[in-house]
C-alpha cells in the first residue's frame, strides 16, 4: 500500500467514523437491538474479501480458509438481515390503533 492510498483510506475511515457517530447517535434506545443486528449484517460485507480469498488465488489452503470465511460471513449477512427484518416488522405492526401520538419516538 503506497502512502497516497493509505492517506485516502484514513480519510475514508475518519469520515465514516464521523458519519457513523452522527447517524447512530440518533437511533432511539427502542431500536438498539435491531441496530446491533443491522450493523452486524452490514459489516458482513467482509464477505466480499472472503469471496476473493476462496476463489481467486491458487493456494489450496487459502481456498479452504476462504470457504470457511464465506460461510460465516454469509450466515451473518443472510441471518442478520433476516432477523433484523423480523424484529422491525414487529415494531411496525399495530402502530397506533387510535392512540395519541407516540411519545416514545420523540427520543430526547
Amino acid at each position: 500500500m503506497n502512502p497516497a492510498v493509505l492517506i485516502a483510506s484514513v480519510y475514508v475511515f475518519a469520515l465514516a467514523a464521523f458519519l457513523g457517530y452522527q447517524v447512530i447517535s440518533r437511533v432511539p434506545p427502542l431500536l438498539h437491538t435491531p441496530l446491533m443486528s443491522a450493523t452486524n449484517a452490514i459489516s458482513g460485507i467482509s464477505l466480499i474479501g472472503s469471496l476473493v480469498l476462496a476463489g481467486a488465488g491458487s493456494s489450496r489452503v487459502a481456498h479452504m480458509l476462504g470457504c470457511v470465511a464465506v460461510t460465516t460471513a454469509t450466515i451473518n449477512v443472510v441471518g442478520g438481515f433476516g432477523i433484523t427484518d423480523r424484529m422491525l416488522k414487529m415494531f411496525g405492526k399495530r402502530k397506533d390503533e387510535g392512540k395519541k401520538t407516540p411519545a416514545a419516538e420523540a427520543s430526547k
Binding site: 500500500m1 427502542l30 441496530l35 459489516s43 480469498l53 476462496a54 460471513a73 411519545a103
Partner: protein, 459 residues
C-alpha cells in the same frame, strides 16, 4: 482497469451510500424497515459486483460457502426466538470476526512476503482483533445461552496473567511487524489472541453483558475495517467503521446507564465482590395475594409495568401484554418503563415486548417515565431488581451508587413479581422490597401474570 473492475467499484460505492441511508432510517421505527431493504440491495450488488469484477478461478469453494452459510442464515432468521436474541447476536459477532481473521490469515499466506509496513500493521490489527473477538464472543454466547455458567469466573492473579497474555500478544504483533519473515511470530499472535479473547470475557458476569456485547460488536466492526485497509477496499472500511462506532456508542451508553467505566466492567469483576459488601436492609417483605393484587390493578387509574431480565427468562412477554390489554379495556392507563440495561443486550426488552404486540408508543425510556411514577397508582416490577434499587440513588455507600434507576419506589403502590425471596443477580439487597407500599408476589412470572389476568376479569 477493465470495465468489470469499474463496475465492481461502482457497486461498492453504491453499497456504501445505501448502508449509510439504511442506518439513517433506523432513527425511527416507521422508516427502519425500508432502510434495511436498501442495505440488503446494496449488499447484493456488492457481492455480484465482486463475483463479476474479480478473476475467480475456482467456484467450488465459493458455492459451498455461500450455500452452507445461506442455509444456516435462513434457519437463524426464521427460527431463533426473540428471547435468544442476545446469544444469537454474540454468535454473529464471533462469525463476523472469524471471517475477518481468516481473510487476514489468507492474505498472510498469499502475500505475506511482499507486504509493506503499513499493510502489515493493518493485517496485524485485523487478525488480532478478529481472533480475540471470535473466542470472546463465543464465550459470551455460551454464558448468555447458559452453556457456560453466567457467574464471573475469577481467580487469584487473574489480572496479572491477563496482562502477561496481552503483552505476549502485542509483543508478537510488534515482532511480526518488524520481522515479517518470521512466520512463527504471526501464528503466535493469532493463537495468543484466541486465548486472550477467552480470558477477557470469562471474568464478566451475565448482568454486565450489555456492555460486553456492545464492545465485542465494536471490535468485530473494527476488525472488518482493518480488513478494508489490508485489501485497500473502501466499502469494507466504511461498513466496518460504521459497525465499530455503533458498538462504541452503545458501550458508552450502557456504561452510563450503569454509572460505571468500561475498565471497571472489564477488570472489576463486579458480581463476586459485592456479595460480601452488601448492606442488610431491615424489615420484612409483605406478600400479597393474587386477588388483592388483581383488585389493586383493576381499580387503578395508572399502571406502569417495569420488565427486567426475569421477564425474558420466564417468557412472560405475552402474558404481560394480555394483562395490560385487559386493564386498558377497563380504562386503566398502561405504560411500560424500560431501563437502558434491562435484559442482556441493548434494547432487549423493547424487542420482547414488541414481539408480544405491545405498541411501541407504550414503551417509555427512563428519563421520560421517571417523572410519572409519583402520579402512578401501581408500578408492577417483573423480574427486575438492580435497575429499581433505590439504594443507587439514596445510599452513597452502595456499590451501585449513582446508577440511574427507574424510580418505582415513588409510585403510590408497588407490586414486585419475583421467583423467590433470593437476591438479584448482583447479590445486592434491595430496600424497595421492604418498603411500606411494596407488596411481593412470588412465583413464575408467566403463570403469575396469566393468573392475575384471570383474576382481573373476575373483579
Amino acid at each position: 482497469m477493465s470495465l468489470t473492475t469499474y463496475f465492481m467499484e461502482a457497486t461498492y460505492l453504491i453499497a456504501s451510500i445505501l448502508f449509510v441511508m439504511a442506518l439513517k432510517g433506523m432513527s425511527h421505527p416507521e422508516t427502519a424497515r425500508r432502510g434495511m431493504f436498501l442495505a440488503e440491495g446494496g449488499m447484493f450488488m456488492a457481492i455480484v459486483g465482486t463475483l463479476i469484477g474479480t478473476h475467480i478461478m475456482t467456484w467450488g469453494w465459493i458455492l459451498v460457502g455461500l450455500t452452507i452459510g445461506s442455509i444456516i442464515g435462513i434457519w437463524m432468521a426464521l427460527f431463533v426466538p426473540m428471547t435468544s436474541m442476545p446469544q444469537r447476536t454474540a454468535l454473529s459477532h464471533a462469525f463476523g470476526a472469524l471471517a475477518a481473521a481468516l481473510v487476514g490469515v489468507g492474505e498472510f499466506i498469499l502475500h505475506g512476503s511482499e507486504m509493506g509496513a503499513i499493510t502489515r500493521g493493518a493485517l496485524g490489527f485485523e487478525v488480532m482483533l478478529g481472533a480475540l473477538t471470535t473466542t470472546g464472543s463465543l464465550i459470551a454466547a455460551g454464558k448468555l445461552h447458559g452453556t457456560i455458567h453466567g457467574k464471573p469466573i475469577q481467580f487469584r492473579g487473574q489480572n496479572a496473567i491477563n496482562l502477561i497474555i496481552f503483552l505476549t500478544m502485542t509483543g508478537s504483533f510488534v515482532y511480526f511487524w518488524m520481522h515479517p519473515s518470521v512466520i512463527a511470530a504471526f501464528y503466535t499472535m493469532l493463537g495468543v489472541a484466541f486465548v486472550f479473547g477467552v480470558m477477557l470475557v470469562i471474568p464478566i458476569g451475565s448482568a454486565d453483558m450489555p456492555v460486553v456485547m456492545s464492545l465485542l460488536n465494536s471490535y468485530a466492526g473494527l476488525a472488518a475495517a482493518a480488513t478494508g485497509f489490508v485489501l485497500g477496499n473502501n466499502v469494507l472500511i466504511i461498513a466496518g467503521t460504521l459497525d465499530g462506532f455503533s458498538g462504541l456508542i452503545l458501550s458508552i451508553l450502557m456504561c452510563k446507564a450503569m454509572n460505571r467505566s468500561i475498565t471497571n466492567v472489564l477488570f472489576g469483576g463486579f458480581g463476586s465482590v459485592i456479595a460480601a459488601a452488601s448492606t442488610e436492609a431491615g424489615g420484612v417483605m409483605r406478600e400479597i395475594s393474587l386477588d388483592d393484587a388483581a383488585m389493586q390493578l383493576a381499580f387503578a387509574n395508572r399502571v406502569i409495568f417495569v420488565p427486567g431480565y426475569g421477564l425474558a427468562t420466564a417468557q412472560a412477554q405475552h402474558a404481560v401484554r394480555e394483562l395490560g390489554e385487559l386493564l386498558e379495556g377497563r380504562g386503566v392507563s398502561v405504560k411500560y418503563a424500560i431501563h437502558p440495561v434491562a435484559g442482556r443486550m441493548p434494547g432487549h426488552m423493547n424487542v420482547l415486548l414488541a414481539e408480544a404486540n405491545v405498541p411501541y408508543s407504550q414503551l417509555y425510556e427512563m428519563e421520560q417515565i421517571n417523572p410519572e411514577f409519583p402520579s402512578t397508582d401501581v408500578a408492577v416490577v417483573i423480574g427486575a431488581n438492580d435497575v429499581v434499587n433505590p439504594d443507587a440513588r439514596d445510599n452513597p455507600n452502595s456499590l451501585i451508587a449513582g446508577m440511574p434507576i427507574l424510580e418505582v419506589d415513588r409510585a403510590k403502590s408497588v407490586i414486585v413479581l419475583k421467583r423467590g425471596q433470593g437476591r438479584g443477580f448482583s447479590g445486592l439487597e434491595n430496600p424497595l422490597f421492604f418498603k411500606q407500599n411494596t407488596n411481593m408476589l412470588y412465583g413464575d412470572a408467566k403463570s403469575t401474570l396469566s393468573h392475575l389476568a384471570q383474576a382481573v376479569q373476575h373483579v
